[in-house]
């Protein structure tokens, strides 16, 4: 069973120490540049000169490459194949697969799109690897995000694995009473019904108790909330955010100007 739903790896690095908002700016700037820059090789270059070095700088290189190889590449690879085969552009046919033509243009198009998605997903992965969810949420709450909103995000991340564990218990309990959970599709779908009842009703009952528990700890207090952890926001953070905002605006302007 997973203890929690989080990619965060606790390390000490320059990237870890950045303010979460700065990292969000970084992710958004990377995505904007990858998608809007007219030069064909921009996304590839970003992976080479930005994302890979950043993952090494953050000392999460191994984790990042593992995530890239296991999660991102297969998904992006699938996208690449679909677009390469089904994009009806271009004249110069490289090869045919039954009725599907792969042209030079469709291949180029698919590759560049796949790389853009790769940049987007890896930038987010890097963000999640280096940012603790509670740090992110406390920082955003301090900047005016409603406390209820961040509570919903964080508690979902924590409680989902618990619900998953309870689903397993419920399945085991129902199976021990003779419920068949294996076999053909209809039988398996039918076996979900005795699982859903206890799980959903149980969770609803819990919601009330949890509401009482957090009320008992002043969750709806109108006083200004404080935070246990100090989340640093240095002048470097502020300068970086300005620089990244300028990059983002420049790439949007460039895109508008060229079109």
């Amino acid at each position: 069973m997973h203890e929690r739903l989080s990619f965060h790896i606790k390390r000490d690095s320059a990237l870890h120490r950045l303010n979460p908002l700065t990292k969000i700016f970084l992710v958004l700037a990377l995505i904007l540049v990858a998608f809007l820059n007219p030069w064909y090789w921009t996304p590839h270059l970003l992976v080479l000169i930005a994302i890979t070095p950043l993952s090494l700088l953050a000392r999460v290189g191994a984790e990042y490459f593992r995530a890239a190889a296991r999660l991102i590449l297969p998904a992006v690879g699938f996208l690449f194949l679909m677009q390469a085969f089904f994009q009806p552009v271009g004249e110069e046919i490289l090869f045919q697969f039954y009725f599907l033509d792969v042209t030079r243009e469709s291949l180029m198009f698919a590759f560049s799109n796949a790389m853009r998605i790769f940049v987007m997903v890896s930038a987010f992965t890097l963000f999640l690897l280096t940012t603790h969810p509670s740090e992110l949420m406390s920082d955003l709450t301090r900047r005016g995000l409603p406390g209820q909103f961040s509570y919903v995000i964080i508690s979902t991340l924590q409680i989902l694995p618990q619900i998953q564990a309870r689903a397993q218990t419920t399945i085991a309990a129902q199976r021990s009473r003779g419920l068949e959970t294996e076999g053909h599709f209809i039988k398996r779908a039918g076996s979900l019904i005795p699982l859903v009842g206890p799980l959903v009703l149980g969770s609803l009952v819990e919601v009330e108790e949890r509401a009482i528990a957090i009320e008992a700890r002043g969750f709806t207090s109108k006083s200004l909330k404080t935070s246990l952890h100090d989340i640093p926001d240095s002048s470097i953070d502020k300068a970086l955010r300005w620089a990244l905002a300028v990059i983002a605006i420049l790439s949007i302007t460039l895109k508008l100007w060229l079109s």
């Binding site: 203890e3 929690r4 603790h132 969810p133 509670s134 406390g147 961040s150 509570y151 964080i154 508690s155 924590q158 409680i159 694995p161 618990q162 819990e206 108790e209 949890r210 509401a211 009482i212 528990a213 957090i214 009320e215 008992a216 700890r217 002043g218 969750f219 709806t220 207090s221 109108k222 006083s223 200004l224 909330k225 404080t226 935070s227 246990l228 952890h229 100090d230």
Partner: protein, 284 residues
Amino acid sequence: MAFVNLQNVTYQYPLTKSPVLQDITLQIEEGEFVAIIGPNGAGKSTLCYALGGFVPHFFKGEFSGMVEVAGKKSSDATLDEWVLTVGLAFQNPFNQISGAKYTVFEEIAFGLENTGVPREEMKSRVEQAMAQTGITDLSDRSPYTLSGGQQQRVALTSILVMQPRLLVLDEPTSQLDPIGTREVFGVIRAMAERGMTVVMAEHKMEWIAQFADRVIALKDGATLLEGTPQEVLTSDLLTENGFGISRYTSVAREARRRKRWRADVPLPVTLDQAAEGFAFTPPS
């Protein structure tokens, strides 16, 4: 004026036909430890909610009467103000974990963050509270990886750190195994010795006998009996009204029926009293 003062408290949950609390009047002095016993559905939890301000602020329904703690009326306060005066902990340890925090230390600080306690004070209060309840070694663990007894002690600490004037415990050990029960009662004992005013709804008579200054037996939302643990827990009225009683009391009562318990010795509620009583009884 008593520290805790309930005047004619009557309450009926929405969509129910009869009131669950009926005309309860009750005074508790500062530093007193009061146990509330009663069969299921007697209104123990609802009484705890009424003290904690959740009736009528959280649960709607028909409420009349007055709950007053430390000179303040619950009807005059909002719930978030009231929880600073009265701390409430309840049965299920798992559901009392906020879910918003990743370590025990953060979990205990949650209430202080919500109520705007400055960071330095927050840290020292959390450390102090953890030392009091003996969970300092759990500080960096995830609250979800703890045992039930440990989770319940974290839940208690999370309430105690807010420094309430009155602590209300609604069957804090009913979902725990014997080891967890002993751990949690250890914390409650420490609180009682520190002079905390405590109201505890509980089924476990042996433990009540050790802590309580006074026991209140509830039946159908009204007070049936009130007095010292010795008086209440050995009363014949309890068994007649479907209350559970301590095994020491029930064994001694059976012994008395068979004339093996001296008539002038009161029935026991603790192991020590039982052992003494049986030792003095001459075999016939």
